[in-house]
């Protein structure tokens, strides 16, 4: 049974995972750039992109979590946010 505690943990891990991945990539990017490696800027860019996409991943998890807990109103609300987000990102 997927409970509220599991749901909160899912959201927490998604957000922390995104932040830590981003910090790891950015640190590696800075380190390699200082060492003069050509792959440094690419990793830094990937780190910032991972950070920007973290809230999007969080909304995807909200849709999934509310669908699992059977709260269709909140699943729909999360889906509307995701749709608006996707349109803004792609059309902006």
């Amino acid at each position: 049974m997927f409970q509220e505690k599991d749901f909160n943990r899912l959201i927490q891990r998604t957000l922390l995972g995104g932040v830590f991945l981003s910090v790891f990539l950015m640190s590696a990017g800075f380190g390699l750039s200082l060492a003069g490696s050509p792959s440094g800027p690419g990793l830094l860019r990937a780190g910032l992109l991972a950070l920007i996409l973290t809230p999007v991943a969080r909304v995807v998890m909200l849709v999934y979590g509310y669908w699992r807990t059977g709260e269709s109103y909140f699943a729909l609300a999360s889906f509307v946010v995701l749709a608006v987000l996707a349109v803004s990102m792609l059309a902006g």
């Binding site: 749901f7 909160n8 943990r9 959201i11 927490q12 957000l15 922390l16 995104g18 932040v19 981003s22 910090v23 950015m26 990017g29 800075f30 750039s33 800027p41 830094l44 860019r45 780190g47 910032l48 992109l49 950070l51 920007i52 996409l53 973290t54 809230p55 999007v56 969080r58 909304v59 909200l62 709260e71 109103y73 909140f74 609300a77 999360s78 509307v80 946010v81 608006v84 987000l85 349109v87 803004s88 990102m89 902006g92």
Partner: protein
């Protein structure tokens, strides 16, 4: 664009930490301070400054929300309900941006913030005089939005009911529009909406606002990123500072009294309101 010397990097790191601390404690993104600071002090071009500021808001929101969700401080249901109208409002704001006078919107927004600041101050001062309001074990919920959190400053659990969701959604639409029209994150509107209109305690309002603002900032940040306007190294340094400040702010928010935060927030609202008024005149 400034060259990132060790001294400039240190200054950006410190500034980012201050913004991260402010953002995580008060539930605002801090873009309204970060953009002019980067432009005026460091000579960063305006579009790059806005892009760096948006990425910093995403960093604060993601780091802070991760911890606040686990502690029950961020009210996810309330957050997602307000996110819907905020997101729709930001689209409306972007569509109206060319048809409305920026100065008129700024004037209206500035005038609205002044009474909000007074109300926040009065509510915080009244609560300070009456002492913290811990309310014992969690009571039965009367709506899906009601919640509770453990408040160490109050020495117990704080239960709260969420009222006036319909008008709050309307104001959130307005907050979203402002982000499209004026390029601000909207936390300075979301926190008073939740605190004054919905009856959400200040700490939970700040935590939930932090949860909300990352989404709209991410959408705009992605557009800047795709257009190649995010200054990579400068943003990387600021984000590092913001994350350090945010994690410190999580501790401060957890320990601080809601009433004191409310009074500090009222000062912030007054500052932003005056800035908007002077910017419009």
């Amino acid at each position: 664009m400034p060259e990132l010397t060790p001294l400039i990097s240190l200054a950006l790191l410190g500034f980012g930490a201050a913004i991260g601390l402010l953002g995580s404690v008060l539930g605002v993104g801090g873009g309204i301070f970060m953009v002019p600071f980067l432009v005026l002090v460091f000579g960063v071009p305006i579009h790059q400054a806005v892009a760096a500021s948006l990425v910093a808001i995403v960093a604060t929101s993601s780091a802070v929300a991760a911890v606040n969700v686990e502690r029950g401080l961020a009210n996810i249901r309330l957050g997602i309900a307000l996110e819907v109208t905020t997101a729709l409002g930001s689209v409306a704001g972007a569509l109206l941006a060319n048809r409305l006078s920026g100065a008129a919107v700024q004037l209206l927004f500035g005038l609205t913030l002044l009474p909000v600041s007074v109300l926040m101050f009065l509510k915080g001062r009244r609560a300070l005089r009456h002492g913290p309001a811990a309310s014992g074990p969690r009571a039965a919920k009367s709506s899906a939005f009601d919640s509770a959190f453990y408040d160490p400053a109050a020495g117990g659990h704080t239960n709260y009911e969420v009222r006036n969701m319909a008008p709050a959604s309307g104001v959130s639409f307005f907050a979203g529009s402002l982000s499209g029209l004026l390029g601000i994150g909207g936390g300075v509107v979301q926190v008073p909406v939740m605190n004054l209109l919905c009856g959400v305690p200040m700490k939970a309002a700040a935590a939930t606002s932090n949860f909300i603002i990352g989404v709209s900032a991410a959408a705009s940040a992605f557009v800047y990123f795709r257009r190649g306007l995010v200054p990579m190294e400068l943003t990387g340094v600021i984000v590092t500072g913001v994350l350090l400040g945010s994690f410190l702010g999580i501790y401060v928010l957890y320990k601080a009294r809601s009433e004191k935060l409310q009074i500090i927030f009222s000062a912030l609202t007054l500052l932003v309101g005056l800035k908007m008024l002077f910017g419009a005149i």
